[in-house]
Symmetry: C2
Amino acid sequence: MNLIPLIFFTFFCTSSHSQKEPVHSSNEASIIRSIYTKALTEGNAYEDLRFLCKEIGARITGSTEAQMAIEWSNKKMQSYGLETSLHEIQVPHWERGTKEVFYFKSSNGTHMKLRGLALGGSVGTNGMLRGDLIEFESLEALKSAKPSLVKGKIVFINQAMDAKQIQTFKAYGGCYPLRGNSASVAAEKGAVGTLIRSLGLASDPHPHTGSMYYAENIDKIPAAAICTADADQLHDFIVNNPKQDVELVMEMDCRSFPDATSYNVLGEIRGSDSPSQIITVGGHLDSWDTGEGAHDDGAGVIHCLEAFRILKTIGYKPKHTLRLVFFMNEENGNKGGKTYAKWVKENEENHFAAIESDRGGFAPRGFTCDGSEEQVEWLASLAPFFKDYDLHIFEKGYGGVDIGPLKESYPNIPLFGFVPDSQRYFDMHHSPNDVFENVNKRELELGAAAIASFIYLLDQK
Amino acid sequence: MNLIPLIFFTFFCTSSHSQKEPVHSSNEASIIRSIYTKALTEGNAYEDLRFLCKEIGARITGSTEAQMAIEWSNKKMQSYGLETSLHEIQVPHWERGTKEVFYFKSSNGTHMKLRGLALGGSVGTNGMLRGDLIEFESLEALKSAKPSLVKGKIVFINQAMDAKQIQTFKAYGGCYPLRGNSASVAAEKGAVGTLIRSLGLASDPHPHTGSMYYAENIDKIPAAAICTADADQLHDFIVNNPKQDVELVMEMDCRSFPDATSYNVLGEIRGSDSPSQIITVGGHLDSWDTGEGAHDDGAGVIHCLEAFRILKTIGYKPKHTLRLVFFMNEENGNKGGKTYAKWVKENEENHFAAIESDRGGFAPRGFTCDGSEEQVEWLASLAPFFKDYDLHIFEKGYGGVDIGPLKESYPNIPLFGFVPDSQRYFDMHHSPNDVFENVNKRELELGAAAIASFIYLLDQK
């Protein structure tokens, strides 16, 4: 059965249904107001996020903490009246280990300890690894370098995110290949290790980890990120001491284990009118193993959980089936998102739309749509409902990593991404600084209210 | 000479001038882009704010710190190429003193230390003050109370800011009379002291001070604010122990001194075309004596200083005279704003418009205009220039406390208020939590860039 034309038809033709049971703007405005009031005066979002961050903590795929988060989420969804299920997936299992040190030293005796983190997926150093250090200003510069310059050395790529970008995710996108590919590019030229400048905009002491990949048939060399403050200091030393030999000494005992069994957590409110048509709403439950995964993506899953709780609390009966999904393994493999998309297609489900929150728990700015012109137009038509709530971005844009694979199964499905303010996100992202204390209660609550209101308007379509 | 019609004419008729030297949208967009690039990649705002907060610190009117801030600002403006002057004003001088303690005790032996701050302008307790405590849920409830219920007691008004409001300044406005007037209302009914719940939205341990006033011919009684977390705990005890007598014991040695001499700090870039027409841009240099006045209003004055520095740096030659004013004494008397408005009118100056930043150093949302319909329409027409920079509020609204008195001298002058996101403001406002660490570098820089761009567009009018 080819579901695609049906889905497409569904999204644009429910207006006839709406005409049978008209919902007036004033009614919509009043429901949105009641959603915001619940979120801001009787909200559970902040306490639920506190529990996830402080009582469970960082929850990298395959860890005990990730499993505890799955079990807690399942019970929490049930306590809010959702029908839950756990969907088994197989996930990578990588561990940082206990040893992680980085030193820089020069021939004139300068020693400098660098604050660093192994990149997720890296091999360890198998004891102490040392090598002459060579700095490149960008991944492109490394790509252009002669292998003879790099062979046997440890490569340091000091590529900074572009502070001129107003949307910090664009600056991140510009540096993303650096983290993923630098080890393979360096190894191909004979390097023995690689250090990158952390992907963060501020000059600060927090190193940022994140996923990296090894190309096939190339030696796997250790890869780590050092904090931006130390990257600046290291760069300055190299520039100011051109006659000094510089050496990098590092040790990491991180390693990969066989794939582990894990789960996506699903919770549903069955639709009253078109129960077979599903709206997927979610974020990812896993996080990196440093910090507490508070903004990435604790805030996102709690946004969506709280949105469902509020819709239940105000007695809203959705027309479509609303399905909350806490995806596992967004950070290093996206097995949760891929397996979910495969599974729903195999089950011949009808998918109406999907919404993701994975850009942090900051003050809401709006929603973007990965969809057709008509779908984007519909999104733009929502702006008046949100004006009093300071949301103003309703335009074409990215959906999200977890819901992305749905597009392969259902090419015409609209994918909506929640857009909070992005300015502070990369101060925390993937670093020890991504902790509960750095999430503001009201900003988190406003995000949950915006998403609940958006689900409601989408369901009314 | 009556300047008013001239000013009005000026603001709306410069378009004929613009037609002589047309500035195309693409040119305007390019200048705005260069302003943002300067702010985000070669900005001084964050370091200047650090200095003001960390090397000078809290700077209440009449203090040595306030004087140091004046002298530093004057030199800093000069270093950025502005022609500066100090304008003498007389300001109130109130000091907190060293002793400030608040205890709650009940007849069953419960003791609880409360985290509080005297309100600015309060009298001291002249040693230990004790009295039975009586709680009211609001200032209105106290107003309705029989004097016999209040006489000889210490009044506790536990009125919370309304979390349902999306704009936190609206929630603040709803509680503002509580802080200013509760002591007089309580004293009129015979109370001996008053405690209010701090004006903050979060439940936290930071008490918030702020200005209070004594009505004429009413006894002056001590007034303080306790933190919201302690207000909640105190309330819970009273509700849960209805049979207990409850007593409040407090000591504060704050007091007022004779008025002191202080200064507004002015720095100008003379207009090339209409130098006699002035655009005033500013915020207030004074702060409360707790914390570091980082958001209130360190961020505001640094926004404006950085805007002028950037306009100078990119070589912009303004048509109108741009005057930067660091006002003194906004917090407890607004003598700076009042004296400035009086002085410019006495000097028969032409005032084209004024801009104020006094709502914190958060991510920019837009500008409001206290002005005529045409002036608000002009403001609304700017939205397209700022779309890529995420500003979206361009509407009628408040200008600011410091520039407010200009409206009395020039009724037709448009007053523009810079509007950053308001969600976190009242976590810091007037409390020990208003420190440099709570200002985000990029958010501050984006504010400076928005204000510089706005000044540029206004000057082009």
